[in-house]
């Protein structure tokens, strides 16, 4: 028990066990959505309850937790979730990607490569990659069971026919382990390649939709495409104004009302580490 009168990690042990069973099943069937009995959390649905439930179920007293939203540690929702775990689990928190054992994220994958033993927990608003094409869960479940994904390719075909490109820039659908179509959560398509054969364990929690899924370490994650229109992630064509990086994903910052703008890294830890290294060299 923590000082608050709640169990370690907020959830009671039975609920955590139930979630861990769902996680094991998810790891055993990469990319497959496992239904689980999501509980109400003290944060609203859609604000990371699934990710929080997953983190609460896998976190231990020795873990070091990093929480990011939009790549940054200091966005309000990331702050709020980090404080929640500091309060109900009393664990150490960090902003350094390399030092964290668990990283809970919304909308980004950190720039530096994750390593074995780390766990990346994604907050997922809508786990079903087919929902815009087929809103009925009973039908999409059948499509997954039969690996009937022609419809998703039709959508990509239509995009190319209309725009010359696949017009999906985030939440770009992937095929996991050559079998299950999966939503990578609303990360920019730029981040998709990082998921492929990642040494870290990737867990996905969707609280409101009550689904858990996973990508075990070193699993193939392929972004859907055509042979003659290969997957092509985009990023702003500029260096980071703070650290000069040409590899990282950039946020656009509007600096005045006359069209002035600059680009800075969305991954705040990556950016500040590079700035510190550069200053030390000078």
């Amino acid at each position: 028990m923590t000082a608050l009168g709640y169990n370690f990690g907020y959830l009671d042990e039975n609920t955590k066990r139930m979630i861990r069973r769902a996680l094991l099943k998810a790891v055993a069937i990469p990319g497959h959505q496992v239904p689980f009995g999501a509980r109400e959390m003290p944060l609203p649905y859609g604000w990371g309850t699934g990710g929080i439930a997953v983190t609460a179920s896998v976190i231990g007293a020795d873990d070091r937790l990093k929480v990011i939203d939009q790549g940054a540690d200091d966005t309000t929702n990331a702050v709020s979730i980090r404080r929640f775990f500091a309060k109900v689990a009393g664990v150490e928190t960090t902003e350094r990607t390399g030092e964290a054992t668990i990283i809970q994220t919304r909308h980004r994958i950190p720039e530096i490569a994750l390593r074995e033993g780390q766990v990346l927990v994604y907050q997922v608003p809508m786990p079903e990659p087919l929902f815009r094409l087929e809103p009925r869960v009973s039908e999409t479940k059948r499509m997954h069971a039969l690996a009937d994904y022609g419809l998703m390719h039709v959508k990509l075909y239509e995009d190319i026919a209309r725009h010359g490109h696949v017009a999906i820039s985030y939440n770009y659908p992937v095929l996991v382990g050559g079998r299950y179509l999966m939503s990578p959560s609303p990360i920019p398509a730029f981040d998709n390649p990082k998921m492929d054969r990642m040494p870290a364990l990737q867990l996905f929690g969707a609280g409101r939709e009550k689904r858990i899924y996973a990508v075990p370490p070193y699993t193939s994650v392929r972004s859907l495409d055509f042979e003659d229109h290969p997957f092509r992630p985009v990023r702003a064509d500029a260096p980071c104004a703070l650290c000069g990086s040409r590899e990282s994903y950039l946020d656009e910052v509007v600096v005045d009302d006359r069209g002035g703008r600059m680009f800075v890294c969305s991954d705040t830890d990556y950016c500040s580490t590079r700035q510190a290294t550069r200053e030390a060299a000078e």
């Binding site: 039969l146 009937d148 419809l151 039709v154 075909y157 026919a161 055509f226 042979e227 003659d228």
Partner: protein
Amino acid sequence: MTALLEATGLSLRFGTVPALDDVSLEVFPGEVVAIVGESGSGKTTLLRVLSGMMRPEAGAVRYRDPEGSVHVVHEMGEAAMRRLHRTDWGFVHQNPRDGLRMRVSAGGNIGERLMAVGARHYGSIRAEAAEWLRRVEIDPARIDGMPALFSGGMQQRLQIARTLVTRPRLVFMDEPTGGLDVSVQARLLDMIRALVADLGLAVVIVTHDIAAARLLAHRLLVMRQGQVVEQGLTDRVLDDPQHEYTQLLVASVLAA
């Protein structure tokens, strides 16, 4: 079994009404079989049972795959059934809206079946779609057009192109010319006849239109109250009907 499809002793009741009463049927490769009869005679039910969309209470439907293995249609799993319906079989609905995706372009509609069986080269999918539009007499320039903007006849031709693109050996057609103007019907029937001959398709077609049956079918089954009352070569049945119900049907067409 040399037939492509073989049904034996099919029976099915709706409440107390017999929809199918001990119906048997064979379809051989390249053969067009028409099922004729009035509304309520059971012909559409027969088509749905033959194509695996509905389960009979008695009897069995067997299907021979391209490798020569025989499968009992209603014992196939859902996955195998779906695969069959987008590869070796096709189904043309009376209402093209039931067979098309109305919010997907003509090219996407044709391409869907190709992509469902693994085609992943955009350029080739598109080329194939354009070729099929040409074959069904739709201007390939309309490849990115939405079916909702097509005429009824064009929609039906698009549905046929979408069905035939994966080169099925057996196609089920449910009143494919129903609901179209007479002049449009004639053109569509001509096109279907040419495609069937070119591709060597086997077809089971349900129609209440005796003239359409005469134009397309090699063989004819006449149904009434769930029973096949007469069957045989099309010309024989229509020129020399034996059963009085068939005589009535043929006479009513001549009178009209």
